[in-house]
Point group: C2
Amino acid sequence: MRATVLHGAHDVRLEDVPDPAIAEPADAVVRVTAAAVCGSDLWTYRGTAPLASPTRFGHEFIGVVEETGRDVHTLRRGEFVLAPFNASDNTCPNCLNGMHTSCDRIAHWGVPGPDGHVMDAGQGERVRVPMADGTLVGTPGHPAPEHIPSLLALCDVMSTGRHATRIARVAPGETVVVSGDGAVGLCTVLAARRAGADRIILMSRHPARQSLGREFGATDIVASRGEEGIATVRDLLRGRLADAAMECVGTDQSLAQATGTVRPGGRVACVGLPLGVTSYPYHRTFSAGLTVTAGSAPARAYLPELLADVWSGSIVPGRVFDREYPLERVADAYAAMNERTVLKALLRP
Amino acid sequence: MRATVLHGAHDVRLEDVPDPAIAEPADAVVRVTAAAVCGSDLWTYRGTAPLASPTRFGHEFIGVVEETGRDVHTLRRGEFVLAPFNASDNTCPNCLNGMHTSCDRIAHWGVPGPDGHVMDAGQGERVRVPMADGTLVGTPGHPAPEHIPSLLALCDVMSTGRHATRIARVAPGETVVVSGDGAVGLCTVLAARRAGADRIILMSRHPARQSLGREFGATDIVASRGEEGIATVRDLLRGRLADAAMECVGTDQSLAQATGTVRPGGRVACVGLPLGVTSYPYHRTFSAGLTVTAGSAPARAYLPELLADVWSGSIVPGRVFDREYPLERVADAYAAMNERTVLKALLRP
């Protein structure tokens, strides 16, 4: 079959790789219906997070179960499934605490897993999924075509937005700030509206993203950054600050901005993969008595509730996909996202 | 009157200073019954936090109201009162959020306040207290002598311990770690027991403090530190980690230890004044999905509930005072605490 392999900075190739097959009794094999390129993939594409060797990429995919191992009990051949951005057993103490991102047997797409096999990744035609009962979530039936982008968004970006608002404990009527206007930032706006926030300030300087942000529920847009951005938020709030901020970038600047826009005793959620973080503003955190929760989303934990909302049409996070590519053109998809001419690319194998 | 003035490192003097008097209508003047030396005072005593000029010291005191301004309505002359470690109006948005440490009109003992007057401090005979209705909490009557140390402990260290367990969201039945065996760490152990923690691991290598820690409720003592200390906690918990940790020191080492002893998705409370913090372990926080709440305790918010517990005898935090000195010997009190021959000194003017 064909799958995406990154060889290094700006070197994305679609290659022939071995067909996946059931290797362990808990495995399933999934034929990919749609996959996404993630903003975090660009860290490697740009050379910021270099690779030791060519690596299969893609951690957001949805598709149809083709085969199941003999220990798979909750999924059937032909069932449509969503995959979270890491595999987990859903039974260990960490999973039971809702921390699937710290599963005792966690496995990441594209790299060697604890079962000794190198994992397939999502930007390809098919994927062997370990711990399939724990990892995959089936949909109520085969989805309508218009639901495909929104279901794909649940694998990572919308689950991450939901996580950001949960760990920031966003409550109805509150004022919140979202730092970052990528797909995660925009989904966080949508999640904040879903959580009942009254005022949602999106930090964004990109017109198309501002527009989608408003559509998702942003009530205010702040284009300035850093100290100036913080001062603008303070002016908007008549001298006070927000109840909570959600940091969706993963840089020193973004962390400083997020912690700076929150009132004493407020909450900060940090979901931006911290590849650009060299120092954390601890003294601001201490002096303002902030609560900071950081980390990747346990997407598996949120899939059932978000799936219900997509299925009913009450949220349409798939609006973040502004361009589709056939899998053959995966290199173009990476390049376009890197140049910020595309917000988020959807790949069709 | 006489009051304590720090002139620099290892230079503590009892000096004659002007008698306090009502300067603003919301002021009260309090005659000090007992005052404490705080572990944080030692940062200045040791020269770690140098002074620009000689400064009055002491932010923990209890006593009797001698005079009130015409706008003081909740306190009467002759009433026994507790003072939190900063003055606050108890009416601004931050105070109403429970963040008295970020009061819009906050004033700190010993330094110039927002009303333009230099504040008296607690290690003296009397204190002018601004915003007296907002700052002071009256007791149900004049306390029995045996309650004096415990009431004094509420001004800072026991309120801080209570705050640590609240922001760490310690729940009944949980396993927690306390980093730091000073008066705050020990009061945090007491607060964790009060909050219903099942297992309380105190990181301490000092025999007398270990003993008081056990008396306050510690179920396990770990004398090793750093990576070795974390490994010991993991062994005690049969390969897993604690639900929450409370950091009561304020150094890089202590923050690393606290964040290292907590399970994925766990909580860390950081109440140690961060004078020894140069970097914060953000990547550990992100990778384990931790929630970290930092900051000084809004002691004013906790005084009523803790006062009730001391008055009823259900907690005796005053056990942290292991030595009393007359005010004349304040320099000896600082020296003894600095040499760690005394845990916490109580001063009697």
